[in-house]
């Protein structure tokens, strides 16, 4: 049978069927091997044939009543579309771009939310500090017992000093690293970011609570005349770690404020918009927490000198600040 006595839609199909079959094999190859490992000619054909197939689909919807053909073209075009519009970036380039440009720019855009995060932490610390001096028993209310580690209003000044300037026995190196990485503050950071979306309140409360613990802890040591020593001990990692919690809180607040005040957008739309910066804040916080864990597990026990502890802690803090302020600015 030559094509002449066929009906129009059957002729349409006969003329293009070979191209569709080729596209089908290319799509299968792309799905199993990945676009990166395909021949240049094949990927070029994939893109061209995909566009042809979309045209075929648009025409077939107008002229053909063959349900099988419509279903096939629809599925084929969809599969090809998913291949053609796959993420093309390599992981290395992605990380590089986030570190050099994306993260610092997001930090600068969200400065208000991050400031709020720091504010809640400071307010919490202040409240904890004042409450401790009002009544020592507040310490037990705020402090989870596994964190206090025997340090409390009942402990002697000598033992407090020893825990600041002593060597941890038992854990060291990698074990200590993991232990600190998944310690209290990391859990707090994950919570404040993830829970921020539920209308901000959980993130604010948790950050404030974290501040309360800090304040009570600080007050205990100031009470015993160990304030400066504790500040040094905390500075080594705390500058980085507590900042990370505040930044995570900032990310959570950004999401929560999008839910509370979506403005002209729909809530889903506002969330999507806020998400672009919030996710970068979360990544920055994660990076800082890892850095803090390294500092805590290695530097804090090795460095016993008070001034050096201040220098390391605040030096690293200054490095973060410089990154956020200066990173990603294009020279003119």
């Amino acid at each position: 049978m030559d094509g002449q006595d066929l009906i129009r839609s059957a002729r349409f199909r006969r003329e293009r069927e070979a191209d569709w079959r080729r596209l089908e094999t290319l799509v299968r190859a792309a799905e199993s091997k990945g676009l990166q490992r395909m021949q240049f000619a094949d990927t070029r054909d994939l893109a061209a044939l995909y566009r042809q197939a979309t045209t075929s689909l648009a025409i077939a919807r107008e002229i053909s009543l063959d349900k099988a053909l419509l279903g096939y073209l629809e599925a084929l075009t969809a599969r090809a579309y998913l291949c053609v519009y796959a993420p093309q970036e390599r992981l290395g380039g992605l990380f590089g771009r986030i570190l050099t440009r994306g993260a610092p720019e997001a930090m600068r855009r969200c400065w208000l939310f991050i400031l709020l995060g720091f504010l809640f932490m400071t307010l919490g610390a202040l409240a904890g500090y004042l409450l401790y001096f009002e009544n020592n028993d507040w310490f037990y209310v705020f402090m989870p017992s596994e964190m206090a580690d025997g340090r409390g209003p009942g402990a002697t000044t000598a033992s407090l000093r020893a825990s600041i300037y002593g060597h941890d026995s038992g854990t060291s190196g990698l074990g200590a690293f993991a232990a600190y990485l998944f310690s209290h503050n990391t859990r707090i950071a994950i919570f404040v970011f993830g829970l921020g979306v539920f209308a901000c309140a959980p993130a604010i409360l948790l950050t404030f609570y974290n501040g309360l613990i800090l304040g009570a802890f600080l007050a205990l040591h100031v009470d015993r005349g160990l304030g400066v020593d504790l500040a040094g001990w905390l500075s080594v990692h705390g500058v980085t770690e507590l900042s990370a919690v505040c930044i995570a809180c900032g990310g959570g607040l950004k999401l929560g404020s999008a839910v509370l005040f979506p403005g002209d957008r729909t809530r889903a739309d506002a969330l999507r918009h806020a998400g672009r910066d919030a996710v970068k804040l979360a990544l920055v916080a994660a990076l800082m927490l890892i850095a803090a864990a390294i500092l805590e597990s290695f530097a804090r026990q090795l460095v016993q000198d008070l001034t050096l502890r201040f220098v390391i802690g605040w030096g690293v803090g200054a490095f973060w600040l410089a990154w956020f302020v200066l990173g990603g600015r294009r020279g003119r």
Partner: protein
């Protein structure tokens, strides 16, 4: 069919199954339901846990590290089968994790554009707050502290209700990242019924239909006939085919009566008659369509009058 059902249920906005790619030709990609996504999630959890345990047992038997470091490595491994696994898997496999590959579902960008690394990272970061933490909370619920229990139950129910309320079955992470999850369509090209051998009766005489005889049916009836003919052409069990023999006899008689085809159709000629009718009807309808006369079903004449 799915679209018809959906439309009749609630008539607001376009169907959620339609995705508009940059080329501007709408594609039908059915949204994946909660059930299949939960199944994919469970598959992922099971597979990654098995892999992690195997890895740890292997390291332990090889005695590469001291027991203290082993504990640290275990913590790190169990951390990495959380969010990092999902982010990296979806980046590497174009929006699919192992579980999603098995369930044949996939993440797509909600606006039809390319899937960006940013959205994959974000939707999986939120997985921690939406799935893993509520899940562990549910396992560790404590009746002794009613306040905490109520708070976590409220949180869990909010996280669960969001996808049920959404037309695209998106969870919060999906909304933030601008993605939703779809079923992967399977392209199967069946033969064109109109190309098959010219249909003629047993006595070599071909069936001829006149133009007014073809004005009774629309696209819906034509495609129903197509489904029936395709089901006939595939080899089936004898019981089923005997049943359809009776059905086909009825159908042929109905069509004959409706279109006023005077000549009786002998039993061995019923299938060729239907095929010939399909060809003629399709050619006729497609031609009418080219002239702007779209006949969706046999009631096309009445709907025109109503409007």
């Amino acid at each position: 069919m799915i679209r018809r059902l959906r439309k009749s249920k609630k008539d607001k906005g376009p169907s959620p199954d339609i995705l508009m790619p940059p080329e501007g030709v709408a594609l039908t990609l059915p949204v994946a339901g909660i059930g299949v996504r939960t199944a994919a999630q469970f598959t992922d959890i099971v597979l990654t846990s098995i892999a992690a345990v195997c890895l740890l047992v292997l390291l332990f038997t090889l005695e590469l590290a001291s027991p203290q470091s082993m504990a640290a490595i275990a913590v790190l491994v169990f951390f990495s089968i959380g969010v990092p696994y999902y982010v990296l898997a979806e980046l590497a496999w174009n929006g699919q994790t192992l579980g999603k590959r098995i369930m044949k579902i996939k993440v797509v960008a909600h606006d039809g554009g390319p899937l960006s690394a940013h959205s994959l990272v974000l939707r999986n970061l939120m997985k921690e707050a939406e799935i893993f933490l509520p899940g562990t909370l549910l396992l560790t619920l404590d009746a002794a502290s009613p306040l905490e229990t109520t708070a976590s139950l409220i949180w869990i129910s909010i996280a669960l209700l969001v996808p049920f309320r959404d037309r695209y079955r998106r969870r919060l992470g999906d909304m933030m990242a601008g993605t939703h999850v779809i079923h992967l369509p399977v392209p199967v090209l069946l033969t064109d019924l109109a190309v098959e051998k010219p249909a003629s009766g047993a006595d070599g005489k071909s069936f001829v239909f006149l133009s007014h005889q073809l004005d009774h049916y629309g696209a819906f009836e034509l495609q129903t006939l197509e489904t029936l003919l395709r089901a006939r052409s595939t080899p089936t069990a004898t019981a089923a085919s005997r049943q359809t023999d009776a059905a086909i006899a009825t159908i042929v008689e109905k069509i004959r009566k409706k279109i006023g085809y005077a000549e009786p159709v002998p039993s061995q000629d019923r299938l060729p008659f239907l095929k010939a009718f399909y060809n003629a009807q399709r050619e006729h309808l497609e031609q009418r369509r080219l002239f702007g006369d779209r006949r969706e079903n046999k009631h096309y004449a009445h709907t025109d009058k109503d409007i």
